[in-house]
C-alpha cells in the first residue's frame, strides 16, 4: 500500500481581496516526483508556503507525513528539504559555509555534516567553487548552490520551487538529472514549474493548476490521452487565404486551424494519416510550403484544451 507524504485538502488562501488558492487539493505519495505545473501567479509558491506552515490560510487542512502540519512541528520540518524560488543564501559566507550553515540547521553531528556538505557540493557540481562567495557565482551556479543548501541534509521530502528559473540549458539539465537521482535514492519530490518540458521530463505525476484551482492531474501520458487532441500539424506556408483555411478545417479529424504570420497550425483528433491528407490538399491546390511536420500533443495542449489559454505567454 502506498504511503501519503503530503495531503492538502480544500485549501483556501486569500491575500486581502485576491483568492490565491480556491479549494485546492493535492495528494503526494511516497516515492513520487510530483510536478506542480501552472502559469505565473497560479498559486504554486503559495501552496508550498502553506505546506511549510509559513503562511496562515483561511480554510482547509494540510497533513505532512500523515500528521497535521503546524509552524511548531520541528520534527516534521526536519524531514523536509526546501529549495525556495527566491535564492536564500548569505552573501558573507562561501559556498561551502553556506551549505554547512543550512545543513547545520538539521544535522548536529559535525563529522556527519562534513560528509553531507561534501556530498552536496559534488552533487551540484560546485567542487571548483567551494571557496567562492555567492556574489561571484553566475546565475546558474547560484541556483545550484541554493539547491545544495536545501538538500544537503538528505531529507525524505524535497520541495523545489522553480529551481531552474533563469538557468542556462546546461545547468538546467544537470539540475534535472540530479533531482531524478535524489528520487532514485528514495526521496519524494515536489517540483513546481511553469516549464512543461521539464515537468514532463522528470515527473511521475503531474498536477496542473490555474488561478488557485485544480485543473487536472495524472501522468504525462494519462493527461495527454485525456484530451481529444492527438496530433498537431505545423506548416510554414505563405499566401493562404480564408478559403484555404476553411477547406483545411473541413478535412477529416481536423478540428481547429490557426494561421498567423506564415505559420499554420492544424489540430487533429484521432485519425492515422492526417499529415498526408494535408499534403494532398496542398498538392491538389498547387500550394507551395516550406516545411511541414507533425507533433504529438504537449502538456500545453492539455492546459489549452481545458482552460482555453496557453500555459506560458508565447515567447
Amino acid at each position: 500500500m502506498s504511503e501519503t507524504v503530503v495531503e492538502v485538502k480544500n485549501l483556501v488562501k486569500r491575500y486581502k481581496e485576491l483568492i490565491a488558492l480556491d479549494n485546492f487539493n493535492m495528494k503526494i505519495e511516497k516515492g513520487e516526483v510530483f510536478g506542480l505545473l501552472g502559469p505565473n501567479g497560479s498559486g504554486k509558491t503559495t501552496t508550498i508556503n502553506c505546506i511549510l506552515s509559513l503562511l496562515d490560510f483561511d480554510n482547509g487542512e494540510i497533513d505532512v507525513f500523515g500528521e497535521k502540519m503546524t509552524s511548531q512541528r520541528y520534527d516534521l520540518k526536519k524531514r523536509i528539504g526546501i529549495v525556495m524560488q527566491d535564492v536564500a543564501v548569505f552573501e558573507e559566507l562561501s559556498v561551502e559555509e553556506n551549505i554547512d550553515y543550512f545543513c547545520g540547521l538539521y544535522i548536529n553531528d559535525k563529522n556527519k555534516r562534513k560528509q553531507y556538505v561534501e556530498e552536496a557540493i559534488n552533487f551540484v557540481g560546485l567542487e571548483e567553487f567551494k571557496k567562492f562567495k555567492p556574489k561571484k557565482l553566475s546565475g546558474g551556479l547560484l541556483r545550484r548552490l541554493n539547491i545544495a543548501c536545501g538538500i544537503a541534509h538528505k531529507p525524505e521530502l524535497i520541495i523545489l520551487d522553480e529551481p531552474t528559473v533563469a538557468v542556462d540549458p546546461q545547468s538546467r539539465n544537470k539540475i534535472l538529472e540530479g533531482i531524478t537521482e535524489l528520487n532514485k535514492k528514495g526521496a519524494t519530490i515536489i517540483y513546481t514549474s511553469h516549464y512543461m518540458e521539464e515537468v514532463e521530463q522528470i515527473c511521475t505525476h503531474i498536477l496542473i493548476m490555474d488561478k488557485g484551482k485544480n485543473v487536472t492531474e495524472g501522468s504525462a501520458e494519462e493527461l495527454k490521452r485525456s484530451i481529444k487532441n492527438t496530433e498537431n500539424i505545423i506548416v510554414y506556408i505563405k499566401n493562404l487565404n480564408d478559403e484555404h483555411v476553411k477547406a483545411i478545417n473541413a478535412i477529416n479529424h481536423v478540428y481547429d486551424v490557426t494561421y498567423m504570420s506564415g505559420r499554420l497550425e492544424i489540430k487533429c483528433a484521432g485519425g492515422r494519416h492526417n499529415i498526408s491528407h494535408v499534403i494532398d490538399y496542398f498538392a491538389s491546390n498547387n500550394l507551395d510550403y516550406d516545411r511541414i511536420y507533425s507533433e504529438l500533443p504537449t502538456l500545453n495542449d492539455v492546459f489549452l484544451e481545458i482552460t482555453g489559454k496557453n500555459l506560458r505567454d508565447k515567447e
Partner: protein, 382 residues
C-alpha cells in the same frame, strides 16, 4: 544547533565589512578631528595663546563688555586661549595679511554676534571658528527665547551658566583637564548605537515575511528562541569588539583622558554595547519592511539621540536637562555618555551605578519589545 548559528552569525557580523568599517570610521575620524581641534595638539604645538585681533563694530557698551568677558575668559590647560589686541579693522587686516602677526580677526557686530576673518585653515583657525560659533549660538538661543518665551529666559541663562560651572567643576576635579571630553563620551555612545547595524539583521534573518533568508530559516526545524539567542549573542560580541577598538583608539591612540579606571571604562563600554545591541534587535524586529529602511530608522534614531545629548551642539544637553529631563533618562546616547561622565567625575558610586542600571533596564525593555514584535512565526502574507 545553537553553536552552529552562533558561529556563523559571528562570521556574518565580522565579515560585513561595510558595517564594521562605517561603524568604526565615522567615530574615529570625528574623534581625531575633535582631538586635533581641542586636544593635546593645541597644547603641544602652541603653548602660547592664539594671537587674535578684536574689532568692535558696535558702540553698545553691554555687547562690548559681554564679548570682552567671554573672549578674555576662555582658558584651556590653565592658560588663556586667545592673546587679544583691540584695534580698528584696517590695522587688523594689515596684521592678518602680514603673516604671523595675528591669526584671525574677530569682529563684534551691532547685533551682538561675532564674525571671524582668517586666512588659513589650520588648527588655530579651527579653534577660533569654534569659539565664535559657540558664542553666536548662545546669543541666538537667548534672543529666540527672549522673543518667543521671555518667561523662560532666566531658566536658559541659568542653564548656560550651569554649563559654564559644569566645565569649571570638570577642571577642578583635576582628574581631567579637557573640557571637551564629553564630546568623546558622545562619540562612543554614537559608536555603540551605530554598531547596532549588526543586530539589526537578526529580525530580517529569521522573519519569513521580511526576507527570503527569513522564510528559508523559518522552514527549518529551528526554534525562534534558539535563533534569536544565538544571533543576539553573536551580534553582541561583534559590536563589543568594534566599540572596544573605538575606545582603545581614543584611550591610547589619540590619548583622550576618560579619567577613572581603564578597566572600568571598558566595563562601561561593554554595558553600552549591550544597549546598542538591544536597540538594533528591537528596530530589526519592527515590521515587515526591508533592511535599508530599518537602517535608516536606526541611523536616524542614533543621530537624533546624539544630537539631543550634545554631540553636534554642546549646549543641547543643558537645554534638554532644563526642558525635558526625562529625555536624558531614556535617550540611549545620553545615558551612555552620562555613564562615562559619572565614572570620570564621581568614580564608582551611586550615580555611576545608577547609569549602569539605566542602561540595563533600557536594554531589557528593548529586548522585550524585539521579542514581542518578532514572536510570530506564521504570516498572513510573505
Amino acid at each position: 544547533m545553537f553553536f552552529n548559528i552562533f558561529k556563523n552569525q559571528l562570521k556574518l557580523g565580522f565579515r560585513n565589512k561595510s558595517n564594521v568599517f562605517w561603524t568604526l570610521m565615522f567615530p574615529l575620524i570625528l574623534g581625531t578631528l575633535f582631538k586635533i581641534t581641542f586636544g593635546n595638539i593645541y597644547s603641544e604645538y602652541t603653548s602660547d595663546a592664539i594671537k587674535t585681533a578684536v574689532v568692535f563694530e558696535t558702540d553698545d557698551e553691554d555687547i562690548r563688555n559681554n564679548t570682552k568677558a567671554y573672549l578674555e575668559g576662555l582658558t584651556m590647560n590653565d592658560h588663556k586661549m586667545l592673546d587679544i589686541s583691540y584695534m580698528d579693522y584696517e590695522s587688523a587686516e594689515a596684521l592678518l595679511k602680514d603673516d604671523e602677526q595675528v591669526n584671525g580677526i574677530i569682529s563684534v557686530k551691532n547685533d551682538g554676534r561675532l564674525s571671524l576673518d582668517i586666512t588659513s585653515n589650520g588648527v588655530l583657525s579651527t579653534i577660533q571658528e569654534t569659539i565664535t560659533t559657540i558664542y553666536n549660538q548662545n546669543v541666538g538661543l537667548i534672543e529666540k527665547v527672549a522673543a518667543e518665551h521671555p518667561e523662560n529666559l532666566p531658566a536658559v541663562l541659568e542653564g548656560i551658566q550651569k554649563r559654564a560651572e559644569y566645565i569649571d567643576t570638570h577642571n577642578l576635579a583635576g582628574d581631567n583637564k579637557d573640557p571637551f571630553v564629553s564630546y568623546f563620551y558622545n562619540l562612543i555612545a554614537m559608536t555603540a548605537l551605530f554598531a547596532a547595524l549588526t543586530s539589526l539583521r537578526i529580525g530580517n534573518n529569521c522573519q519569513a515575511n521580511m526576507s527570503s533568508l527569513g522564510a528559508r530559516t523559518n522552514a527549518s526545524p529551528l526554534s525562534r528562541m534558539t535563533f534569536q539567542a544565538a544571533a543576539f549573542l553573536a551580534a553582541y560580541i561583534v559590536q563589543t569588539a568594534i566599540i572596544f577598538v573605538g575606545i582603545t583608539y581614543m584611550l591610547f591612540g589619540i590619548k583622550i583622558n576618560f579619567g577613572g579606571d581603564i578597566p572600568l571604562v571598558y566595563f562601561t563600554t561593554a554595558i553600552a554595547s549591550l544597549l546598542g545591541t538591544s536597540l538594533g534587535f528591537a528596530v530589526g524586529n519592527l515590521g515587515s519592511f526591508n533592511l535599508d529602511k530599518k537602517e535608516s530608522i536606526l541611523v536616524g534614531l542614533t543621530l537624533t539621540g546624539c544630537a539631543l545629548s550634545g554631540l553636534m551642539y554642546g549646549d543641547m544637553k543643558v537645554i534638554i536637562t532644563e526642558k525635558a529631563p526625562i529625555i536624558n533618562k531614556i535617550n540611549p546616547a545620553a545615558v551612555i555618555s552620562d555613564s562615562y561622565y559619572c565614572l570620570n567625575m564621581f568614580g564608582v558610586g551611586s550615580r555611576y551605578l545608577m547609569t549602569l542600571l539605566y542602561m540595563l533596564v533600557i536594554s531589557a525593555v528593548l529586548i522585550t519589545l524585539g521579542l514581542v514584535m518578532g514572536r510570530r512565526n506564521h504570516y498572513d502574507s510573505i
